[in-house]
């Protein structure tokens, strides 16, 4: 029996823990590299002021890193605790990247972190610098493996369903690891981390400039951060475009939701700004937008790389569009139900020792196996993700991304001309920009994860089948436990971080 309350609490818990974790991860990904840059400059110039600068940013890195670790451990085990059916059904594939992450990435971080913080006088200068770089490499390698895992959930490849075991089994590890979707997730998410960390450094340094404190320290930090930030933000835009292009091919429903595109056209326009009609449902005649501005043909170019490409809308995907070769979800549900029932028949016949009946059922299953996941859906509506949230989150992310490119460019130009301090308004925007960075970063994950609902594994396993056999109260109680604990830790983190910033780089014993 499916208890929708339980599934939704489990989803809420995952959203909560993942979003908390993602507050801290991007800063770790980027600040680790910035620390490595700063320390490299120190080692090459021998200037002790760069060492002070490096140590200051490392202190902030450490405060952020600790809570990143704390919020991260839950996620790995949550696949088991709250999504145990998922863990069984795809564990043969999904467990591998998590184990590899432990072996290849986490130990690098754990080992060299201690050297980075406590090894200044215990190891050679070169060994210390090497360790700092290793922490950066290790953090970003962790991101690689978890994003390979996530990319596989978005675009499951390299596996097959084994009807005897009633689970999915891996056939090709390399195709899982080198999946274009996974690599695109990795490059986009890590570079967004570099971007956010650059904003963080600019924000803190701008605050010092406004307060007329630590001027040289702040200018130096900004000089490195705005170059890194500008390069990262351009790369984020590039990988984002690639990511959306891949989404159009692998998750057309997500793309349709991102664009609130209900009826596909050739060519299709892009709606950069719009107010979504929240009541619209698949198949009805309501207007999709209350208000919208359209750039003609633009979505065809972005999603199909052609001026006249057909981009399927939610209605095309729901009910099929034979002219453009789109199979409808209604049809997939019908065939999915055949797959589910023939699988059950196959197992019963096999257990009863009736090999003829088993072979017959297996043949039906084989004809419909590709739609197995759809057999668990109750209606077409269920296959459509929340459109408005996906649409707005996407625009927040993209809009912010473009703004950050301009911001880094402005900072770079003024920093080169040494005129930052005469621009208090810009510095104020710089201070605030890190919060926009966090917002954009969270919005990106909302697009990725909300946009693929109801699937735990795209097209294969809906969340309503993936969850654990728990009662609603248990999961709800856990949700509030995490909410309470993580919020308390976040408050502690922010208080410690802001105090360290106000103490400043020459603060002495902290």
């Amino acid at each position: 029996m499916i208890d929708p309350g339980q599934v939704n609490w489990a989803r809420a818990t995952f959203a909560l823990t993942a979003m908390y974790h993602w507050i801290f991860v991007p800063l770790t990904l980027g600040l680790s590299f910035l620390c490595a840059f700063f320390e490299t400059i120190y080692v090459r110039t021998g200037n002790a002021q760069w060492k002070t600068l490096t140590k200051f940013w490392m202190t902030l890195f450490g405060i952020n890193f600790a809570i990143g670790v704390a919020t991260g451990i839950i996620l790995e085990f949550e696949f088991g605790t709250n999504w145990s059916n998922y863990s069984w059904m795809v564990g043969d594939i999904f467990g591998a990247p998590l184990a590899i992450e432990g072996i290849f990435a986490f130990f690098i971080e754990a080992t060299f972190f201690a050297v980075m913080f406590f090894g200044w006088d215990r190891v050679s200068q070169k060994m210390h610098l090497f360790s700092t770089w290793m922490v950066a490499a290790g953090s970003n390698l962790s991101a690689l493996w978890i994003l390979v895992a996530n990319g596989w959930m978005q675009n499951p490849i390299g596996m097959t369903f084994n009807p005897d075991m009633a689970r999915f089994e891996m056939q090709d590890l390399w195709s899982v690891v080198s999946s274009p979707v996974a690599i695109s997730h990795f490059t986009h998410a890590t570079s967004s981390g570099f971007l956010l960390a650059s904003l963080f450094v600019i924000s803190v340094s701008s605050w010092y400039l406004l307060k007329k404190r630590h001027g040289q320290f702040a200018r130096r930090s900004i000089a490195v951060a705005c170059v890194f930030g500008l390069l990262s933000s351009l790369f984020v835009a590039f990988t984002g475009d690639e990511h959306a292009f891949l989404t159009a091919r692998t998750q057309p429903m997500k793309l349709a939701a991102m664009e609130a595109l209900w009826d596909g056209k050739a060519p299709t326009g892009l709606i950069p700004i719009g107010l979504v009609n929240p009541d619209k449902k698949p198949g009805d005649k309501q207007e999709p937008f209350i208000f919208s501005v359209e750039i003609p043909g633009m979505l065809s170019v972005l999603a199909k790389r052609s001026l006249n490409g057909f981009v399927p809308g939610i209605n095309d995907l729901s009910f099929g569009n034979s002219a453009h070769g789109v199979t409808g979800i209604d049809d997939k549900i019908r065939r999915g139900r055949l797959a589910v029932s023939s699988l059950r028949d196959y197992k019963m016949a096999r257990d009863a020792g009736d090999s003829t009946a088993a072979a017959g059922s297996l043949a039906i299953f084989d004809q419909n196996r590709e739609y197995l996941g759809y057999g668990h859906l109750e209606s077409v509506d269920q296959a459509v993700p929340p459109v408005a949230l996906t649409f707005y989150a996407f625009r927040v992310m993209v809009g912010m991304g473009l703004f950050f490119i301009l911001l880094f460019l402005t900072y770079l130009i003024l920093s080169m001309r040494n005129r930052l301090e005469s621009q208090p308004l810009l510095l104020k925007i710089g201070v605030g920009s890190v919060f926009l960075g966090y917002l954009a970063s969270q919005a990106g994950w909302i697009v990725t994860e909300v946009g693929r609902q109801p699937w735990a594994i795209q097209g294969m396993l809906p969340v309503t089948v993936a969850h654990s056999n728990l009662d609603t109260t248990t999961v709800a109680v856990t949700f509030f436990m995490f909410l309470f604990l993580f919020s308390a830790l976040l408050i502690a983190e922010v208080k410690i971080m802001t105090r360290q910033i106000s103490i400043g780089p020459e603060g002495g014993k902290s």
């Binding site: 405060i63 467990g95 072996i103 290849f104 971080e109 754990a110 190891v123 089994e169 056999n469």
Partner: protein
């Protein structure tokens, strides 16, 4: 080479790999042991700081080993991962909570404006070292005493006890194993700290403490060993996979696998040797024999649970739902690929050892902590 191995051989290999990771984790719980020693051994803030900064340079290794233990189990025995985490829900959530609060405690404990106060973070550390380790021990105990679950035709787990895993802590055997691990962690913590710190009176107390904690651990160890030797155990019939209760099963396992018996006895002797070395001589290197002994002992315990036609995660509620290394494992392909991946483990251990040597070559002193603004 690995690709030619039989599925059963790979399943046995992976049980060994998971067991090694688990055994290394127990050795590394010297960090958790150290966390519980702060309250009883440190006489002033300097001593407390010495202890916390010494184990604070290693805590992430322990934490990461636990995460790898979970990841390796997931990749190699996904049905265990799904059944145990999704079934024995509360015991795992409780264990995880103690590790979440541990992860921030070193960094935040003495930072100004830390919201919860220094004492709270020290309590977090203590809870992690006591309750956390106790529950892990209780969970491992269920490898022998069994759990309350059934699996349906699609291998989906249903837990039949309302406490969802916490009931494990109410068995004397599981509780004894948990308490043994808590005291063992304290023994190891005291041994590690004695070798890592330069502080005459504190080191002297640490050397005594490792002995006292071993004495505390012994009754629980005895209960576990006698229990293992006398209890009815879960056995699988290799012909048809049916599970039944067999009297003296684990004693039989020991006698059938003499190497495991040797590992168990040698392991325990080495732990005792390490403690005696520190207690009776001027040496402070007892952590090494005791640590190696801990790894051997835990390996033996895991081998008892998983090999020789024994279900490693037995079900009391429905014997035939019990998990064996054969019915809970990943596919032949996945185990093969992961075996290639595991070839990297010796390199990982090598660089950890290399960095460890560099960082621990000089003992930690109060002066160094006072001079270092980054110290915990």
């Amino acid at each position: 080479m690995i690709g030619n191995l039989e599925w059963a051989s790979l399943q046995q290999l992976w049980w060994l790999i998971v067991s090694v990771v688990g055994a290394l984790f127990v050795f590394l719980t010297f960090v958790q042991g150290g966390q519980t020693l702060i309250l009883t051994l440190a006489r002033d803030e300097h001593e407390k700081s010495l202890i916390i900064n010494s184990i604070g340079r290693k805590w992430e290794l322990t934490f990461t080993t636990l995460v790898l233990f979970g990841g390796a189990f997931y990749a190699s025995f996904p049905l265990f991962y799904a059944s145990s985490f999704g079934g024995a829900y509360w015991v795992w959530i409780a264990i995880l909570f103690t590790f979440v609060v541990q992860a921030v405690s070193y960094e935040y404990r003495r930072k100004p404006n830390n919201f919860l106060g220094q004492k709270t973070y020290e309590i977090f550390m203590f809870i992690n070292g006591s309750v956390g380790i106790l529950l892990i021990g209780a969970a491992i105990g269920t490898f022998f005493t069994g759990s309350n679950f059934t699996l349906n035709d699609y291998n989906l787990v249903n837990w039949t006890h309302p406490l969802r895993g916490l009931e494990a802590a109410f068995s004397l055997f599981n509780l004894s194993l948990g308490l043994f691990l808590v005291f063992l962690a304290r023994v190891l913590g005291a041994l590690y700290l004695a070798g890592n710190l330069e502080h005459e009176s504190l080191v002297d107390r640490l050397k005594h403490s490792s002995f006292d904690n071993l004495v505390c651990a012994l009754p629980f160890l005895l209960y576990v060993l006698v229990g293992l030797a006398t209890m009815d155990g879960f056995a699988v019939d290799p012909a048809n996979g049916a599970v039944s209760m067999v009297s003296g099963k684990y004693l039989h396992n020991l006698l059938d696998m003499p190497i495991v018996l040797v590992m168990l006895l040698a392991g325990l002797l080495l732990v005792i040797l390490g403690v005696v070395l520190n207690r009776l001589t001027r040496s402070v290197r007892g952590i090494w024999p005791a640590g190696f002994g801990t790894v051997l002992t835990c390996l033996a315990i895991f081998c008892l649970a998983g090999y020789n036609n024994t279900p490693f995660y037995p079900s009391k509620a429905d014997l035939n739902s019990s998990l064996t290394i054969y019915n809970a494992s990943s596919s032949h392909y996945t185990l093969t690929m992961m075996s290639y991946v595991a070839l990297a483990v010796p390199f990982v251990i090598a660089y950890i050892a290399w960095v460890w040597r560099q960082m621990d070559s000089r003992k930690l002193t109060v002066d160094e902590l006072t001079a270092d603004e980054k110290s915990y």
